[in-house]
Structure formats: structure tokens, C-alpha cells
């Protein structure tokens, strides 16, 4: 059971413990991996098929490397659980969702209702990312 879990997926949570990127390279049967800020998410790209959980660690909320890691994985078709863990705060949730995170395990619990409210902050979005939301430019020009 993941502590403080907030999930935006319908499937069952993955029970396997996430291994480090180094260990993942050696354990050919591991299906859950944990990325640290300094890890290159692209190392995982050849193995996306066997992954069902990627945890991205945020030791400090100010370190934004995990946003790029998440987006890169989604851009290459990863559709398993993408979980932000660590110093994950209420005011960051909406950007994280936009970068492809669909699950959160914050150090300090976030109330589900507050999270839902935070995720609804932006009525529209200016950029196309990996969350499927239509960018404002797409709506303006009938592309959405």
C-alpha cells in the first residue's frame, strides 16, 4: 500500500517495489522503476513494454527535472502508471498532470478534494503536452 496515494487511473495499483535505474538494467524481469532527478529517462525507452510503474522522485519541489522525465516517457508511448513521489505539493499537481503524471505519493498527504480543486485551476491551456487537453490555439482554429 502506497502511503498518501492519490491516483488518477482506474487499474489496480502496481504492487512491485520500484528498483533503481541501475538495478533495472540488470534485472530483466523488473516491471517497476524509480527515476532520480539525475537519471536519464531515455535509458528506459527500449524497455517501456515491460514497465507498469515508473516513479519519479522529487527530493525537493524546486528541482523540476522530473517534469521533463515524465513528459519524455509519455511522448514515447509509455502508458503505465507514472507516479510523482517525494516533495510533491498541492500547487504543483496541475503542472505534473499536464506532464503525464497520473499518480502521486507525496511526503505530506494531500487531501483528495483539495487536489481535485487544484487540478481544475486552469480552465484552458496554452500548450499541447501529453495530457490530451486541447491547446487554446487548437480550439481557436477548430483543430480540437
Amino acid at each position: 500500500m502506497v502511503e498518501n496515494a492519490l491516483r488518477y487511473r482506474d487499474d489496480e495499483p502496481v504492487a512491485d517495489p520500484a528498483v533503481t535505474v541501475d538495478a533495472f538494467a540488470e534485472q530483466t524481469n523488473a516491471s517497476a522503476v524509480r527515476i532520480e532527478p539525475g537519471d536519464d529517462a531515455r535509458i528506459l525507452l527500449p524497455h517501456l513494454g515491460r514497465l507498469s510503474l515508473v516513479e519519479v522522485n522529487f527530493p525537493a519541489y524546486t528541482d523540476g527535472r522530473g517534469y521533463s522525465a515524465a513528459r519524455i516517457l509519455r511522448e514515447h508511448g509509455y502508458d503505465g502508471e507514472l507516479r510523482a513521489v517525494g516533495d510533491v505539493l498541492l500547487d504543483q499537481l496541475s503542472h505534473m498532470r499536464r506532464c503525464g503524471f497520473d499518480s502521486f505519493a507525496p511526503n505530506q498527504a494531500i487531501d483528495r478534494a483539495a487536489a481535485d480543486k487544484a487540478l481544475a485551476t486552469w480552465p484552458e491551456v496554452y500548450q499541447k503536452t501529453v495530457d490530451g487537453r486541447a491547446a487554446i490555439w487548437a480550439k481557436r482554429h477548430g483543430l480540437a
Binding site: S94, Y126, H141
Partner: protein, 544 residues
């Protein structure tokens, strides 16, 4: 000028509601200052030495008279009757109460303005050539690109926690009026041999404690791939920029450490991938935005003659008025640098007057310059004299553009908690020492820039004459730099030697100008003479 549609308005309205809620939670004690700090910084609200400071974004330095009027009203209603125009073409208010912050943002939103991303380690407000759409030497108007960039960078989810703040400038002329090469990214719109328009990307410039001039990274990026190229540049930086030391966290350090070639290679690789994702707004979006920046209804067949019989007017005309692309029109720069004044400050009444003048004489448009002045971009030549008289009556007709008293100065120790020394009093003393306009004109173009500490908010590295405030055993001390420039010929200044006290630095500046007057050849500016004769004669005069 660009106008919000329902989408743009919905975004700023959502921001006001969000911030109001955050302020209320803070005032109710539900949040500590530590928790609140990153949130208020995302809205340009700094806690300074004496009060909160609010920085309001003026996207690419362009605004209409209703917006300018609102800036004046805010100065009256929530500040002490002043606003301070900054080197990043924004405006700051130095005496703000936290309780008022939500109302101020709501007032701003009512005229399509905001304080989004005016601080924090995110993509800041984009700056641009203040003569955009008016300059006689313009290749392409940079404003539509700047607006496209504004929208793309607003609440960009991947780049809100970069290693450090990120500043972009964009120009469309060979003359660089925006210090483009001293930005994290500088974009120059250029034409290739085939006559096509493209974006030249300079990446990794900056000032601060390690000043660097940006190298060219993308020589010619098609305009309809500009956003994708930006995504690539930012992603490489977000992933690999240094986070272990905040003084080495700007993109300039990354580009410098891995080298421009390696950075370019990584960007190209990322760019190739990003092009497959369809992130770029369609051509119709750039066209839609361009529609807002079409020329205003210029009259044709106007006379170019100006009656120069009033000598004071003639001086102002020669110094503060530039050539316009449209015959019969001119570009007016209103100097916010009166003798003894605070560079960039304007009173609420002055701000409203400039708004009125823009409405009456400049198709409702104003610009803020990075040198902390205000531009009326489209003034009929026939109106210039009447306009000048109104400016003169309001103390806004200083005829000193680009002269030694047109000083850029940061807030310094009078307001800033990071300062080592005061900047404003030094600027005031220098402008008083050189108060005689004839003397200033004799010295010609001379850009003097002052920062109160190594962070270089006052661009001292890029001044023909730069002044840097340092702390010397607890006493304010000023170093002198010579030879910087931020135009198309960007260069970084060199420190002359040991520093001076407040009066000493004014004397040292004067001695430097004496060397120039004695040594110059025909047509040489201060900077040209320095470049020709080098530091030695100046050193000798200053310390000898």
C-alpha cells in the same frame, strides 16, 4: 496591439482567483511565509527591505492608453503615487500591502494585464525592440512572435521549476535595441539568401556575476518551428542545467561548460524529436496574431517639415525623436531621467498624462524601453511641437536620450535586500554633475549603467561606463567599468581598478569623460575612443 479573446481572459481571471485564495489563506494564518513565498513569487510579489514590491508584466514592453492609465491609478490607489519602469520593460511598485495584492491583480486583469511569471525560476516576461512596428530599419515586426512566445510560455507545465530564471528577448532589426545577446535566449528575425524569414537563436547570454555574450545556436529556424525549437532549448537546459549551485545555474553556464557545439547537438536531437509531436501552433495562429499588429491607419501624403524655431524644442527633436518607417511620422522617446531624478520613476499623474498623449497622438500605443524610458511609437510630425509642449509642462521633456544622464540604475540599497550599495543617489549625483545639456551633447552618446551589486540588474557590464556597487569592509564602494555595450556590437566592460566612495565615483566618471574629450577623433563616440586607445590612458587619468 494584441487583444485578449475569451481564452486569454479566462487564463488571467483564473490566476486572479487562485492568487486571491492563496493570499487569503496566508492572511488567515493557514500558510506560513515559507509556504507562501514560492506562490507569491509566481505573481511577482517580492518582500523587500521595507514593504512588498509588486512587479507587473508589460509583455514585450507594449501597452495601450487604458493599460497605462490603470498603471497610474494603481500607483495612486495602492502605492505612494509612483511607479518604477524597469530594465525588463516592466513596472514595479515598491510600497504594496499584501492585503491589496488580489485587488491589484483584479484591476490589472480588467485591462488585460497581469503579473504572471515576473519572478521565479521560470520563463519570464519576453522583451522586444521598443521600436517594433515603427522603426525605419525593421526587417520584420517581432511583436507577433513575442505574443506567440508569451502564450506558449504562460503556465508552461514543464518549465516552471527550471534551474534558474529564464529571460528571452526578440528583435526584428539589425540594430539591437533590446540587449538581445545578453539574454538566456535572444532571437533575431533574419532573412536568408532565398529571401525567407527565419529566427536566429542566440542562447546562453546573461549578466549577473558571470556575464556572457550568447553564441548563435540555431542559425535559421523557420518561424513556424520557433516554439518547437524553444521547447528543445528549454528541455536540454531543464535536464542538464546545474542545480548544485545557484550562482552557476543559468543556462549561460551550461552552454559555456559543455560548449556551444555540444549544446547545439543536444538541442538539434531534441528538436528532431519534438517536431514529430505536433506542438507548434498552426500557421493560422501566427496570422491571427499578426492581424492585431497591422499598421494603424497612417495618413499618407503628410509633410515631413518640422518648424524648429523654438531652440529647446529643436534640441529635444534631435535627441529624443527617431525616424519612422512611415513618411510624415516619427518615434518619440519620453525620457524618465530628469536631472536629479530617480531613473525610471514616474508619478501617477505623469503616467496618466503619457496615456492621454498616446491616445491623442500615437494611435493609442506606448512602449517601455529597457533603458527605462517610454516611447510613443507613431506620432505625426505635425503634432510634435504641441506634444513636446505638453511633456515639457509635466517635466517629461528631458532632451537627454542616450546621453550620459540617461542612466540605467537598479533599485539598489534604497529598496533591494540583496544590495551592497545604493544606486539611485549615485545616478542622481552624476546627472547633477553633468546637468548642463550642452556639455552632455558635447560628450555625445554615452550609456551609463549602475548596479547595486554583482547581480547586475542595472546592466553595468554593458555600459559604455558601468558602475558596480560593492561592499568593502561594511562600507559602500563603487567600481568603475569601461567599454561595455549591448547593441549589435555587444561587449563586456572592464574594471578600471580599485573602487571609490560615492563622491569619488562621480569624479572618476568625469575624469574618464575628460580623457575621451581630449583623445577623440572626428565622429568617435566615447565607446569608440575607448576601443581604439584602450584602458591605459583612462587609468592614468583616474588614478594617476
Amino acid at each position: 496591439m494584441y487583444q485578449y479573446d475569451q481564452y486569454d481572459q479566462a487564463m488571467v481571471d483564473a490566476r486572479v482567483a487562485e492568487f486571491r485564495d492563496q493570499v487569503n489563506r496566508r492572511l488567515a494564518g493557514e500558510m506560513t511565509e515559507d509556504q507562501f513565498k514560492p506562490l507569491r513569487l509566481k505573481n511577482g510579489l517580492y518582500l523587500q527591505l521595507h514593504a512588498y514590491m509588486l512587479r507587473v508584466a508589460i509583455p514585450y514592453g507594449t501597452l495601450n492608453s487604458a493599460q497605462m492609465r490603470m498603471l497610474g491609478d494603481i500607483a495612486d490607489k495602492y502605492d505612494r503615487g509612483y511607479g518604477h519602469f524597469t530594465t525588463r520593460q516592466n513596472i514595479q511598485y515598491n510600497w504594496i500591502k499584501l492585503e491589496d495584492a488580489g485587488d491589484i491583480l483584479a484591476d490589472l486583469a480588467s485591462v488585460e494585464m497581469h503579473a504572471i511569471q515576473t519572478s521565479g525560476n521560470c520563463i519570464r516576461n519576453t522583451t522586444a525592440d521598443q521600436f517594433a512596428g515603427a522603426a525605419a530599419d525593421e526587417l520584420e515586426d517581432p511583436r507577433p512572435y513575442a505574443e506567440l512566445l508569451r502564450q506558449w510560455s504562460t503556465f508552461h507545465p514543464e518549465f516552471d521549476y527550471l534551474p534558474r530564471k529564464f529571460k528571452v528577448a526578440i528583435i526584428g532589426s539589425d540594430t539591437d535595441r533590446a540587449a538581445m545577446k545578453l539574454h538566456d535566449i535572444g532571437i533575431q528575425i533574419v532573412k536568408n539568401a532565398a529571401g525567407e524569414i527565419g529566427c536566429r537563436f542566440y542562447v546562453g547570454g546573461g549578466m549577473g556575476r558571470t556575464p556572457m555574450i550568447a553564441p548563435v545556436i540555431g542559425d535559421f529556424v523557420p518561424p513556424l518551428q520557433m516554439i518547437s525549437y524553444l521547447e528543445a532549448c528549454l528541455r536540454v537546459y531543464n535536464r542538464y542545467g546545474r542545480r548544485d549551485n545557484k550562482y552557476k545555474a543559468r543556462i549561460k553556464i551550461l552552454v559555456h561548460e559543455i560548449g556551444a557545439d555540444e549544446y547545439r547537438r543536444q538541442v538539434e536531437e531534441e528538436f528532431a524529436h519534438i517536431l514529430t509531436l505536433g506542438l507548434e501552433p498552426p500557421p493560422a495562429e501566427l496570422e491571427r496574431i499578426k492581424g492585431y499588429f497591422a499598421d494603424p491607419g497612417f495618413e499618407t501624403g503628410l509633410s515631413g517639415d518640422i518648424d524648429r524655431s523654438d531652440p529647446d524644442f529643436a534640441l529635444w527633436l534631435d535627441q529624443n525623436v527617431h525616424a519612422h518607417k512611415q513618411p510624415g511620422y516619427a518615434i518619440v522617446t519620453i525620457s524618465l531621467k530628469p536631472t536629479g531624478g530617480i531613473p525610471g520613476d514616474a508619478s501617477a499623474d505623469q503616467i496618466r498624462l503619457m496615456a492621454d498623449l498616446a491616445k491623442a497622438h500615437s494611435f493609442d500605443e506606448l512602449r517601455v524601453t529597457h533603458a527605462q524610458n517610454i516611447v510613443l511609437p507613431h506620432v505625426k510630425k505635425a503634432d510634435l511641437y504641441a506634444l513636446w509642449q505638453k511633456l515639457d509642462a509635466a517635466g517629461l521633456a528631458s532632451a537627454n536620450l542616450d546621453l550620459i544622464s540617461d542612466i540605467i540604475a537598479c533599485p539598489g540599497l534604497d529598496y533591494c535586500s540583496l544590495a551592497n550599495a545604493r544606486s539611485i543617489p549615485v545616478a542622481q549625483k552624476i546627472s547633477e554633475r553633468f546637468a548642463d545639456l550642452g556639455r552632455q551633447r558635447e560628450l555625445g552618446e554615452l550609456k551609463l549603467k549602475i548596479s547595486g551589486c554583482i547581480n547586475a540588474c542595472g546592466h553595468h557590464h554593458a555600459g559604455h561606463i558601468g558602475i558596480l556597487g560593492v561592499d568593502r569592509k561594511g562600507v559602500e564602494n563603487y567600481q568603475l567599468l569601461l567599454g561595455g555595450s549591448e547593441g549589435a556590437d555587444t561587449s563586456l566592460g572592464t574594471i578600471t581598478g580599485p573602487g571609490f566612495n560615492e563622491d569619488g565615483i562621480v569624479d572618476a566618471v568625469e575624469k574618464a569623460t575628460d580623457v575621451y574629450l581630449a583623445q577623440r577623433t572626428d565622429g568617435e563616440r566615447f565607446l569608440d575612443t575607448y576601443r581604439r586607445i584602450g584602458m591605459a590612458p583612462f587609468k592614468e587619468a583616474i588614478y594617476g
